[in-house]
Symmetry: C4
Subunit: 241 residues, 4 copies
């Protein structure tokens, strides 16, 4: 399998995993950047069925958003992907998701702070992009990319999230952790004050944690689950997410 | 396929989609109006199995509620549909649902205000019909219809919701958005104060949003999901909803 | 089908419906009373698989709890059933459930008050049995039965619920409504103060509502769903409930 | 079946049951101690698929953590198991889980107190291990074991739980009860103040309760459910748990 085939295979797989987890739904999309050919591979936009995405369904764009290959619908928010891939050589994978729990922190007036050890992955914080519009232009996407800076994610107010990784595995892992941490924070909040993992504790945990190993283990785990998934809609869960 | 066949096909499909999403349950019903023949097509009432509704199961009524065709159970709240179809030429599709999350705003003493960008669809607000009874007479239904005015939906106190659209696709889309927005509001409320999308921001977003395109994309997406749905009851979700 | 066969068939079916709905779990049990032969039919106790209960699995007891027929495990809380069947000629069906949402009102210090129109079924209130023990003796069960009086249900503190009906259909319907109303109350409570259905409004609604018709419609609906249920465990839902 | 075969069979089964219940996920692991041969049987660590674990997949370690048999991944937190098995002759089974609800009490600043009768199993309390790191060394695990003392469980801050039992059945039962009690506490908390089961009431209930009988009944019940489980991922539930 050459490098493009492998990248297409992985990107299609992660799209289906996000569908299985109820995190991508109708409007989400993911991308991976081939730094040699400077091409962006992207999952199709609205109405594309994420649960059955195959490598041949992916779109190929250049960094200016010109469609080079593929006949699916280009997501209207494609500039999110090209802006981040163009700005950061360590962000070879980018997800734009409407994941149900992380998005709550883009609604409630409450700063994200990690409540789980793995949440230490986000020790630099998760900024909120406050513009109440889709990110449809290059200049908007560049503002978003600038807001993210060297961090791993952003919350889009009243809308969803953007998560990036140095590869598809890390992007998946970070997205799952952000969803898990925010879900636990939301549920625990009904019990009273939360015990956060402090910045110092995050740093100490992150120093010890071998994120790459964890991300690859999670990849193996979820690809196996996805392989046996019966592709039933997650009834009642994440309707429009 | 002639126009009646097409309308029946769509109305049966949307009934099954609402069943899949856990939004219609035992007591909900949907309708579509044929403005040429002035006939109302309606899904059967109580005890009708929404998950398996077929075009031939639909009832046909005139605007006075006289049954013209079909042998299922006419919903006792049929006047909701005839009153709205009769009053508004831009409401060719009407849903009465007991959707689990939107109904919470018909219980809690808290006005609906959008927390998601797509919630801008409801920028004119969602009024509460406060009568603690089913809507079983024409005069009650006309009061409800008057309360809705030019808006897209109403909350029925302690009961459920009514959502309308210019066609079946828009009615489905609006119902999904209202459910999604209210679910997110409910969950985010455990985290503290909510950041609403202001009326001005709603207007700005709504101006840009191509609702018709979105509604048709969502239609394609959910019809595909429904086509592969295994029709298992959403165990534990939406029991009586 | 003679009357005993019919009763066994219905009682086995309602046991499976409660399993499907995640309301009976490991420890619940249901009963029906044959007023002619003065015998109590009861679903087996702990470790009995409620999702596959068949008519032949049912136990038959007399009102003193003597096992007349069947070789399953008699529930240790059998006196709940015999005490209520013995005391009230209008309670021919009794359920003891650990339904996840209704039980929350047996934990939180908050009186049950209906928030939905159908909750009017419980306009006489739902008393709390406060003894922190299982109901294993006749005298305890008689105290519980006395507490219920002429009402339809009781909450067992830190434990579960008891619901009764004049027949199996009404007992199912009342159990579903109590679960639905309490779930909505719990979820809406995160949004602020609740708007209850007042006693007067309950009375007005209950006067109009044809509970028997509703209960039989619900019976038809849920038996159809149960017939196509694939008997998968409700993963993650209602573990021990 | 000799004793090792039986132990392996049970440990593999309980691993799959925890997967079915959405309580073990990617990072959990369980163990059982053979007190005759002083060997620890353990489910594989990260990336091992808990839903399909078979007896031959299990690892065998000595109390110093030396791998004696098996070629799966030894969990990095193996010392949790060896420390507890080594310290307590009444803890022949140990689970380390990231169960979604119990973990909330390792996040919120609120002491665990039972709200259900069965929660009386934890009448001695559930201490919180507050170190914000994985338990990867023998000395850390010994501190954790010392903190647990003679109790049945501990909460690991921002991380998960440890539950032990005198056999696999009791360890499963205790884990299910802790998850059920914490879930009900979390949900009921939205309704207001909770009514706890007091220490005296716990003691009275625990005296009467035949935990061994209950645990074995629960074992029979859940093994039957697991035997018919279709091994579908619990979509949207417990993503990383």
């Amino acid at each position: 399998m050459n490098s493009e085939s492998a990248l297409r295979e992985k990107l299609a797989t992660v799209t289906r995993i996000f569908a299985m987890q109820g995190m991508i739904g109708l409007f989400g999309h993911v991308s991976a950047f081939d730094s040699v050919t400077r091409r962006v591979f992207m999952s199709p936009g609205m109405a594309g069925d994420k649960a059955t995405t195959r490598p041949a369904d992916l779109l190929v764009l250049d960094l200016q958003g010109k469609l080079l290959d593929g006949d699916g619908q280009v997501p209207v928010e494609w500039p999110i992907h090209t802006a981040i891939h163009g700005a950061r050589s360590d962000a070879l994978a980018v997800a734009h998701l409407h994941s149900p729990y992380a998005t709550l922190f883009a609604i409630a007036k409450r700063e994200f702070r990690p409540v789980t050890l793995q949440g230490a992955l986000f020790l630099d914080g998760v900024p909120v992009y406050s513009e109440p519009q889709l990110v449809k232009t290059t200049s908007e996407a560049q503002r978003l990319s600038g807001l993210i800076g060297g961090r791993r994610a952003a919350l889009l107010r009243g809308h969803g999230i953007v998560v990036l990784g140095k590869d598809i595995e890390e992007m998946l892992f970070a997205s799952l952790i952000l969803e898990d941490d925010t879900r636990k924070a939301m549920q625990a909040a009904t019990l009273g004050k939360l015990g956060f993992i402090s910045p110092e504790e995050c740093r100490a945990f992150a120093t010890e944690a071998d994120w790459e190993r964890r991300a690859h283990r999670a990849w193996n785990y979820f690809t196996r689950l996805e392989a046996r998934w019966d592709r039933q809609p997650a009834t009642g869960a994440g309707s429009l997410a």
